[in-house]
């Protein structure tokens, strides 16, 4: 369904000066903060709970629920803002940081106020120079204007927001890796449990980690109420959500659409969105939620952009990144390209991920180079099975974080649906013995069953 709901967080994108304090104030800026400061903090938390705002960073955990996790009586608590956006296919947090930094700052302030977070660290991906500059300027202006820092708007609410930035490592987007990085360490994730950030996070203290887009929704929720937000969307997926659609479509772009009701077909085919597959080609496959997600196909087009439905079909909306592949796509190469990413970005902590991802990459490279053997394909799957037993969805894992199992998605997707393309590369029929149990890896008939 193509909804006519109005955007929430991309409303200022049309202005050239959308990133300035002047424009922000002229368009209702910091009203959400004022509204929040008029309420007791717990009421703000309740508002966000009633909004059912799902985290937009990838895991899709409800923000209001997460905010309730820090153990009582343990202080201080910190906020870490995840602006490390690096999942292939994902482009939205950078846009929010470059084009509407004050909206993000306002969201951060609301979160700190509500949960009693003593200091906030806004961690921007290292490669995003402009986003860093825009945030630095916005913070300097907001401090000067009394929105950030000591006694905000004359109240006893005081918090510093520190701009901090990375230096190129995808895994630092994972929240515990992010915390390690922010502590000046190698960004290697910690095991959960026991290291759930909300309990044991930055400097071992309770820490809320939220994504840029998640927080950018807060000013609107604060001004308009959680109910208004929850009135948008469907099922567990409420409000509006940004999706970046890239690849073989006529109008690739970032669209803020009503969550839960808009379908993949709407987004890919509707003229107001992507306007269909490019050059009149047929759709071969699409990735519904970033490189880590199992691929979807033609038969999934009419699924709504709804976390539950997509999960049941065997994949995820992840970071809101949809990558479309047309019928001419060489899936073996596409698969290799994604696997190469995970091999490069493995932090190296867990043996199966460190060794497995790079081994898989080497095998795929060899296959593409024409030195593949038919048995290699089954071996690919068996290696996947050793990283993510059962090749299922949601994945089981022998690793600490989900990066390792992520490498399995493209391989299982490509092999399960395009075995003949592998056969063409390895020059012979391919037998596979390893079971792939993920719903998205099954043939259309059984997937629909």
């Amino acid at each position: 369904m193509i909804s006519d709901a109005r955007p929430i967080i991309t409303t200022r994108f049309g202005y050239d000066d959308s990133h300035t304090l002047e424009r922000y104030l002229a368009t209702g800026g910091y009203d959400g903060l004022r509204a929040a400061l008029r309420k007791p903090p717990q009421q703000v938390v309740d508002d966000v709970k009633s909004a059912s705002l799902l985290g937009r960073g990838g895991a899709g955990f409800p923000a209001g629920v997460k905010w309730g996790f820090p153990p009582a009586g343990v202080w201080p608590r910190y906020l870490v803002v995840n602006g490390d956006e690096s999942e292939p296919g994902t482009y939205k947090d950078r846009m929010l940081m470059e084009r509407d930094p004050h909206q993000l700052i306002e969201g951060i302030l609301i979160a700190c106020y509500a949960v009693g977070l003593g200091q906030a660290f806004l961690y921007v991906r290292g490669e995003m120079a402009l986003a860093q500059e825009r945030i630095a300027q916005a913070l300097n202006d907001a401090y000067a204007a009394g929105y950030v820092g000591r006694n905000i708007l004359g109240t006893d609410f005081s918090v510093d927001i520190v701009l901090t930035w990375g230096a190129g490592a995808y895994i630092v987007g994972e929240e515990t890796g992010l915390i390690e990085s922010l502590e000046g360490n190698r960004g290697m994730p910690r095991l959960k449990p026991p290291f759930f950030p909300a309990a044991i996070g930055l400097y071992q203290k309770p820490t809320i980690v939220n994504n840029v887009e998640t927080l950018s929704n807060l000013p609107w929720i604060s001004s308009n109420g959680g109910e208004a937000f929850a009135a948008l969307g469907a099922e567990t997926s409420k409000g509006m959500r940004m999706f970046a659609v890239s690849g073989h479509v006529n109008k690739p772009g970032v669209y803020e659409v009503e969550f839960g009701v808009t379908t993949f077909r709407d987004l890919i085919e509707a003229p107001i969105y992507c306007g269909g597959v490019r050059n009149g080609k047929r759709l071969k496959a699409f990735i519904p939620g970033g490189a880590s997600a199992p691929w979807f196909f033609e038969e999934h087009l009419d699924l709504p952009l709804e976390a539950g439905a997509v999960g049941k079909a065997g994949s995820m909306l992840g970071s809101g990144a949809i990558v479309v592949m047309d019928e001419d796509t060489d899936v073996v190469r596409a698969c290799h390209r994604i696997v190469r990413f995970f091999a490069k970005e493995s932090c190296g902590k867990c043996t199966p991920c460190r060794e497995g991802t790079s081994w898989l990459e080497k095998i795929l490279a060899r296959i593409i180079d024409g030195a593949g053997r038919p048995e290699d394909v089954d071996m690919l799957l068996d290696i996947c099975d050793n990283i993510s037993p059962g090749i299922n969805w949601p994945p089981r894992q022998t690793t600490i974080c989900p990066l390792g199992p992520s490498v399995v998605s493209p391989i299982a997707s490509a092999v399960s649906r395009f075995r003949h393309e592998f056969e063409a590369y390895v020059g012979g029929p391919v037998e596979t013995s390893v079971k792939m149990t993920g719903a998205a890896y099954r043939a259309p008939e059984s997937a629909n069953a």
Partner: protein, 909 residues
């Protein structure tokens, strides 16, 4: 005997958790990791990164097993997950098996197949696990990861990055345990390697531990490289005597050569760690310069002083005995004895005091604390000091340099056990940054600092003795708490009086205070306990108190208190010593006043040396008796806590050299007396029978599993309690023992070596042995005749000299790697010893017009010497520091042992 405050046996009852492991219901203490709980119940879960003495990281994923906490089985790392009620652990499920298989295959794909030339081959956990849990064959056809083959990351350690499996053990050890994060993971993902910063070597005193805990052959000890295949090594458990901490080790030998020591994890002492000096100075055993036969000085035509020439044993022993026999008892002095085993120390005490009748006997070289003080202070153990929440006053030299593994324990206590250290020191030490409070005082004024810290009203004036540090905050910290203290001689440029007074001040303020007396040398504590000190008889008994008891057991007992080393050397210098026995001593280098030592060696009519090397002092002797050394003799040793543990022989001594105790017996025999000591075991039986404090510590107890960790002297109630059938938590046997594969063979051997008769389990044997020990102790207690032990008594109140503002006051410090015999005869260590400089505060050097690096002449009332001067704020104003026993300058010409402090003037030359 004071009431003992710590009980290993009766820890507060722990909450337990019921769970099932492989279908078997078990209970485990709350908070225990699954990997530990499983092991305790006989289920070994393979692992690489997990090490029981370090924080788990869950990296290698080898320990993954199926764990069901109610939501169905999931694969979880057993090294990270704590036991929980009703948890079901399955270490044999198909999923577990597949995962183990997969992890091993992953680890092997980039691991070189150079096992045949790898030092680790045969004791390699990767090999073992691959054999037990691995896939059998590799499907990997790609090229393996390549790195330059072994690179030297320090003088002692080589790193082969191709073999590394990135388990984070070495790097965690360096960072968490040693506090020397000089190695790190570098780069990312499959390109990750372990390495140092360019040109910053892994210069940690503890680097050898990383080699031991490396689960593959990635880290290699240079002294062991290509020396032997592990399966050719014959191992035995023993105790390190490179310093007085007494770390447990295995001595590993091939074809009668000692090739390696490895640390053994004993709970109360070293937790498996060793310092590099202790680990690698075995090379000295193998030195070509070892003494292998007795020597006698013979005058030649060209050489009026004569020359030491090989002699027969009978010639040498007769010459020595004749000299002793001719001498009046009071003109015989015996210096040294810390190198000896307890048994040898007893034999020599019996010879000197019971046969010759001299009390001029001193195992220390004027560099420690008086014997009565060392044995008389109420004792604390390392565990007492490091117990959760303990407050420790440390007033001694730099522990990292002097007693390195005690430093590691203390470091762990501060970081992980909420232990607070209040340090009293002149110069900044390795402990300063860990201390809650580090207070600075002038040399010779530690007692004033102590008074300022714990003293009563009248001592508040002493606050001026604190040059730096928040003394008021420190006072608050210790005010209402029980404290333990580590106390020792801070510097040999000051007399022992200030330290003794400091102990007295502390005890006066806090009568419950307990002490670890930080004497440094090998078995110095055992030597003191067994009477190698003036005024003491074996068993921590004063001469007068024990005279009657020993008169009934020994041929003689000295009639009056004798001289300490300084006294003996002075007497010798004055020509009042006929026979000076150097019992493993090198006073020229180890006594603080070298000039006096020189005069003494020249003044003594006959110098008899008993040693393993011809050190500088020995080269001046008239008769040299070649002694068998470490690993060449068996017996026991006593550490700083008073813990007796086993020393074992594993190689034959060079040439005809003999155990020290035998030399004592031979000399006695030639003096016409039978010492009645015929074997090491026999000597121990005699010690146990005559000593006031060794009662109950029987050979059987020491050989039982309860003795594996050593046995504290006097026997503690909780060990004795075993006799009454109470459950005794025998540390090191049921659980705290390392699971580490690397030690298991040593343990096996140890276990089988000490296998008690019949089908007894080790626990039963321990209980039996303890029972017997307790009975003996009870007997001894009933038998009032055993003399009373020495209690600490304050000397005459000590006054430190007033500050001479024209001078700097000298403090000496030590370095682990020094110019001493062991280090210098260990080729791998010899080069590490640094060079000594005069270090003073920049303020003072500026004032004196001395520039950084200038050569300065340093003058004291005693003498002068030249040094290179460097400025550093580790030394407070008004003081200067010099390292003893180090190249670059010797402070001993400046030191007069009869003065309280050493005031020096410094001028550029």
């Amino acid at each position: 005997m004071p009431e003992l405050s710590v009980s290993l046996a009766h820890e507060p009852a722990q909450e337990t958790v019921e769970l099932t492991i492989n279908g078997r219901a078990v209970s485990a203490p709350k908070g225990q990791l699954v990997i530990e709980a499983a092991e305790k119940h006989g289920v070994f879960i393979p692992r690489f990164c997990y090490h029981p003495r370090m924080n788990p990281v869950g990296m290698c994923r080898m320990c993954i097993v199926d764990i069901d906490t109610g939501r169905g089985p999931t694969l979880q790392p057993a090294c990270m997950i704590e036991v929980a009620p009703d948890m079901k652990v399955d270490t044999e499920s198909p999923a577990t098996r597949k995962s183990q298989d997969g992890v091993l295959e992953f680890l092997l794909i980039n691991h070189p197949l150079d096992c045949p030339v790898c030092d680790k081959g045969g004791e390699c956990p990767l090999q073992d696990n691959a054999y037990a849990y691995g896939p059998g064959e590799s499907r990997f056809v790609e090229e393996k990861r390549h790195f330059e083959k072994p690179v030297a990351i320090s003088n002692l350690v080589h790193l082969d990055r191709e073999r590394c499996i990135l388990c984070d053990r070495c790097t965690r050890f360096a960072n968490e345990v040693a506090g020397d994060p000089l190695i790190s993971f570098i780069n990312r993902g499959s390109q990750t390697e372990v390495n140092t910063f360019p040109d910053h070597p892994f210069a940690s005193y503890f680097s050898g531990n990383t080699v031991q805990i490396c689960p593959v052959g990635a880290l290699l000890a240079r002294p062991f490289r290509f020396k032997a295949r592990p399966w050719d090594l014959d191992k035995v458990e023993s105790t390190c005597t490179s310093c007085a901490v007494g770390c447990r080790v295995t001595i590993e030998v091939s074809r009668n050569h000692v090739l390696r020591y490895q640390g053994v994890d004993v709970d109360p002492v070293n937790w498996g760690w060793l310092c590099d000096k202790g680990r690698f100075d075995f090379e000295a055993i193998e030195s070509d310069e070892r003494l292998s036969e007795p020597l006698i000085r013979k005058q030649g035509d060209s050489d009026p002083d004569g020359e030491l020439i090989a002699a027969t044993w009978s010639e040498a022993l007769t010459t020595a005995a004749d000299a002793i026999g001719r001498a009046d008892a009071k003109s015989v002095g015996v210096v040294g004895g810390a190198r000896l085993t307890n048994e040898a120390a007893y034999a020599w005490a019996k010879l000197a005091k019971g046969v010759i009748g001299t009390d001029n006997v001193d195992a220390q070289l004027g560099d420690g604390l008086p014997g009565e003080v060392a044995v008389g202070l109420p004792a604390a153990t390392i565990d007492d000091v490091c117990a959760e929440g303990s407050i420790v006053i440390v007033a001694t030299g730099d522990l990292k340099e002097e007693l390195p593994v005690l430093f590691l324990r203390l470091r762990d206590a501060v970081i992980n056990r909420n232990v607070k250290v209040v340090e009293l020191t002149t110069t900044t030490t390795s402990l300063s940054s860990l201390a809650t409070m580090s207070l600075r005082h002038r040399p010779g004024e530690v007692h004033l600092a102590m008074a300022a810290l714990v003293g009563f009203g009248r001592d508040v004036g002493n606050i001026s003795a604190i040059l730096d540090g928040d003394v008021l905050a420190a006072r608050r910290l210790v005010a209402d708490s029980a404290v333990n203290a580590i106390i020792g001689r801070p510097s040999v440029a000051e007399s022992a009086d200030a330290a003794v007074e400091a102990a007295a001040v502390l005890l006066e303020a806090k009568p419950d205070a307990r002490f670890v007396v930080s004497l440094r040398r090998a078995n110095v504590r055992g030597a003191l306990d067994l009477g190698l000190a003036p005024g003491l008889l074996p068993g921590r008994v004063a001469l007068d108190a024990g005279r009657e008891w020993f008169a009934a057991r020994w041929p003689k007992v000295p009639s009056e208190r004798g001289l300490d080393t300084a006294g003996i050397l002075n007497a010798a210098a004055d020509g009042r010593i006929d026979v000076l026995v150097l019992l493993g001593a090198d006073p020229l280098n180890d006594f603080p006043d070298r000039a006096l030592a020189e005069r003494a060696l020249a003044g003594a009519r006959t110098v008899v040396a008993v040693d393993t090397f011809v050190n500088e002092s020995v080269s001046k002797a008239d008769v040299v008796l070649a002694a068998a050394g470490y690993a060449e003799v068996s017996g026991t040793t006593t550490n700083i806590e008073g813990r007796v543990s086993r020393l074992r022989q594993k190689v034959t001594p060079p040439g005809t050299s003999r155990p020290d105790w035998m030399l004592a017996a031979e000399l006695a025999y030639r003096l016409g007396i039978d010492l009645e000591l015929e074997s090491v075991e026999g000597i121990w039986r005699e010690i146990e029978a005559v000593s006031a404090v060794h009662a109950g510590i029987t050979e059987e107890l020491l050989e039982s599993p309860a003795g594996d960790d050593g046995v504290l002297v006097p026997l503690r109630p909780e060990v004795a309690a075993a006799a009454e059938g109470t459950h005794v938590q025998i540390t090191g046997v049921d659980g705290t023992q390392p699971a580490s594969e690397e030690l298991s063979s040593a343990q096996e051997q140890e276990a089988s070596g000490s296998e008690p008769s019949g089908e007894e389990t080790p626990e039963e044997a321990a209980a039996d042995a303890a029972e017997e020990g307790a009975a003996r102790q009870a007997e001894a207690e009933a038998d009032d005749a055993r003399p009373a032990t020495v209690a600490f008594a304050r000397n005459a109140p000590y006054q430190s000299p007033v500050v001479d503002s024209y001078s700097l006051r000298l403090a000496t410090t030590r370095k682990l790697f020094d110019d001493g015999t062991l280090v210098q005869h260990s080729p791998s260590l010899a080069g590490i010893a640094a060079v000594s400089h005069l270090v003073a505060n920049s303020y003072d050097l500026n004032r004196l017009g001395v520039a950084e690096g200038d050569v300065v002449k340093v003058t004291s009332p005693q003498g002068s010497a030249t040094f290179e001067a460097h400025s550093s704020d580790v030394v407070p104003r008004g003081t200067a520091a010099l390292v003893v026993n180090q190249r670059g300058g010797d402070p001993s010409p400046l030191i007069d042992v009869t003065t309280a402090v050493t005031e020096i003037r410094v001028e550029s030359v």
